[in-house]
């Protein structure tokens, strides 16, 4: 008799959105979605709603500012191209009214937008067409960051991967992954130097403070353990890459 492969609704939800972030124990977080494309907004509302958020949608920059003044929200997802105002102006004005974290969405492939947006006080940036899971992971990350208060060490986000240096936690798609303290230090050293080849000796130097463990296992073994925790396919790593004869690279562009 064939095995019953039907999943429960909760299982399906967990597969699509990752683990629920205590939606049962606390009120659903309220997200203000500022997006002029009605169909995209509808889908985003459905997707974020399915992940346990309460989404309020507005299609204009002025309406977003009015709404925010009338009713606070936990986070803002802001499209940069709006029919009535430039999203960057909305971000600037929004910052004077609210300290809710802002996640900018943009379809312009311009690095200047990202830089200006982050300078204006946006918390994160995601180019369209974004991976829905990445949007969710980043939204959860900025909410968590605000919830924990401002820290001198902001979490490092690479696609769906979030490394919270202050809390010393590691998450993929919002799900926490466990590694040892030494491996965490090694991962932070790699991530803080993303896009650079680091030799094994340099890595040993960077994690000197975490000593002891370095002597009983080689860096390579620790890296393979970290890979097992963070790579989608540890046999074909895309986040920590070995460069023959040179060392390791932590990928700057990740999914």
């Amino acid at each position: 008799m064939p095995r019953n492969t039907r999943r429960t609704r909760a299982e399906n939800r967990r597969l699509r959105f990752g683990p629920a972030i205590s939606t049962v124990t606390r009120m659903a977080e309220r997200i203000l979605l500022v997006e002029d494309d009605a169909r995209l907004a509808e889908m985003l509302s459905e997707y974020l709603g399915g992940a346990g958020f309460r989404v309020v949608h507005v299609g204009f920059g002025a309406a977003a500012l009015e709404r925010l003044a009338a009713e606070p929200c936990d986070a803002v997802v802001l499209d940069l191209m709006l029919p009535d105002m430039d999203g960057l102006d909305v971000c600037r004005q929004l910052r004077t009214k609210s300290d809710a974290p802002v996640l900018m969405l943009t379809a312009r492939g311009d690095a200047t937008d990202r830089i200006v947006g982050l300078e204006l006080g946006a918390d994160d940036y995601l180019p369209k067409p974004f991976a829905p899971r990445e949007l969710l992971a980043r939204l959860r990350a900025i909410l968590r960051r605000r919830g924990n208060g401002t820290s001198s060490e902001a979490p490092l986000c690479f696609g769906r991967l979030e490394i919270d240096r202050a809390a010393r936690t590691l998450r993929i798609d919002g799900a926490e992954r466990m590694i040892t303290s030494y491996q965490f230090a090694l991962l932070v050293a790699l991530a803080e130097n993303a896009g650079r080849v680091l030799s094994r000796d340099t890595l040993m130097d960077l994690v000197k403070g975490e000593a002891l463990e370095a002597f009983d296992r080689s860096i390579d073994v620790h890296v393979s353990r970290i890979r097992a925790a963070i790579e989608d396919d540890a046999k074909h790593p895309r986040r920590i890459i070995t460069v023959r004869g040179a060392g390791y690279v932590f990928a700057k562009a990740q999914e």
């Binding site: 995209l40 889908m43 985003l44 191209m81 896009g195 040179a246």
Partner: protein, 323 residues
């Protein structure tokens, strides 16, 4: 009659009149001695020439300065400063030339601004529906066939890359200044891009230079995509340092490209007939060359006994070209 021409004409006429007056004065002198005649000619004519020179000096100096200012504005515009304008002084030809230059520069600035706006809007118009499709695929959830879902994801990624390439090609033509200029570890970038593919082997030494990381990533990705699409395994990437130059070689073991086709490989929208492939806009390799040149380097193709070699040379420690 034109103002400038009148001025020159009057100056010339004045000079002739002065010479004529000098000549008449010379004829009235008592020519008792030939020595007096020669002495007079040696004194009067240089004095006259000096007077004319002194009289015309301010005019020519002013004129030359105005032309120099105009030249500087033309150079600035050519170097990408679209706000370069020149002050219009007077009502002569130089003033009219300055007005014409200002009009042309204004028109160019308007066109470039409009072009940039069009690019930004086109990007928005194309990427927003793509975001909808991606979200729709995600919302299909577990009910969708995983194989078909993966295929859709691949199609979305391909379309996204195509949009990116078309917009980037227009942008590189239209925008003079680079988006970002930062230190880029080329070996790390190559390793990251090679990791996107299975069976791509990377060998190399560390080479760091300043540049636009997004563009250099696109350069490497396009070379690898090209090798994957048209070449044959094994694909090898080598990064070498030759003095002050980094050389990136992407080699594959596919059939060698004939000379008549190789000559057109880096042209925009060129697609090889023999490849039998229909995907792609034929922009990949032209972007590779555009990006290499923007970083002061070059891209070329060479056939080897083993197959095909695409070589990009990039000078190390040079600033990104602004044009």
């Amino acid at each position: 009659m034109s103002h400038l021409h009148t001025r020159f004409f009057l100056t010339l006429l004045g000079s002739l009149a002065a010479f004529a007056l000098g000549g008449i004065a010379f004829m009235h002198i008592d020519d008792g001695s030939r020595v007096v005649h020669v002495v007079h000619s040696f004194i009067i004519f240089p004095a006259l020439a000096l007077c004319i020179g002194i009289a015309t000096y301010p005019l020519t100096r002013r004129l030359l300065r105005r032309l120099e200012r105009l030249e500087q504005a033309v150079d600035a515009l050519g170097a990408g400063d679209l706000s370069a304008r020149v002050a219009v002084e007077g009502k002569d030809e130089v003033a009219r030339l300055a007005q014409s230059f200002n009009r042309a520069a204004g028109r160019i600035e308007d066109l470039v601004v409009a072009h940039k706006r069009l690019l930004a809007n086109a990007s928005h118009e194309l990427r927003t529906p793509l975001a909808r499709v991606r979200l729709a695929v995600e919302l299909m959830g577990e009910s969708a066939d995983p194989k078909r879902k993966a295929g859709l994801d691949g199609d979305i990624a391909e379309l996204d890359q195509l949009i990116d390439e078309i917009l980037l090609a227009s942008r590189l033509d239209a925008v003079a200044s680079p988006d970002t200029d930062e230190e880029v570890d080329l070996l790390a970038l190559a390793a990251e891009e090679c990791a996107r593919y299975r069976d791509v082997r990377l060998d190399g030494v560390r080479a760091v230079r300043r540049g636009d990381p997004r563009l250099l990533r696109r350069l490497l990705r396009n070379l690898l995509d090209n090798a994957q699409r048209h070449g044959a395994a094994p694909i090898e990437v080598r990064l070498m340092r030759c003095g002050d130059t980094a050389e990136i070689v992407v080699a594959d073991h596919g059939p060698v490209i004939p000379d008549n086709q190789a000559a057109h490989l880096f042209e925009p929208f060129y697609r090889r007939n023999a490849s039998g492939q229909v995907s792609g806009a034929g922009l990949g390799l032209s972007l590779v060359r555009q990006i290499a040149r923007r970083h002061g380097g070059e891209a070329h193709y060479r056939a080897t006994a083993a197959g095909n070699c695409f070589v990009v040379t990039l000078p190390l420690d040079v600033p990104v070209l602004s044009a």
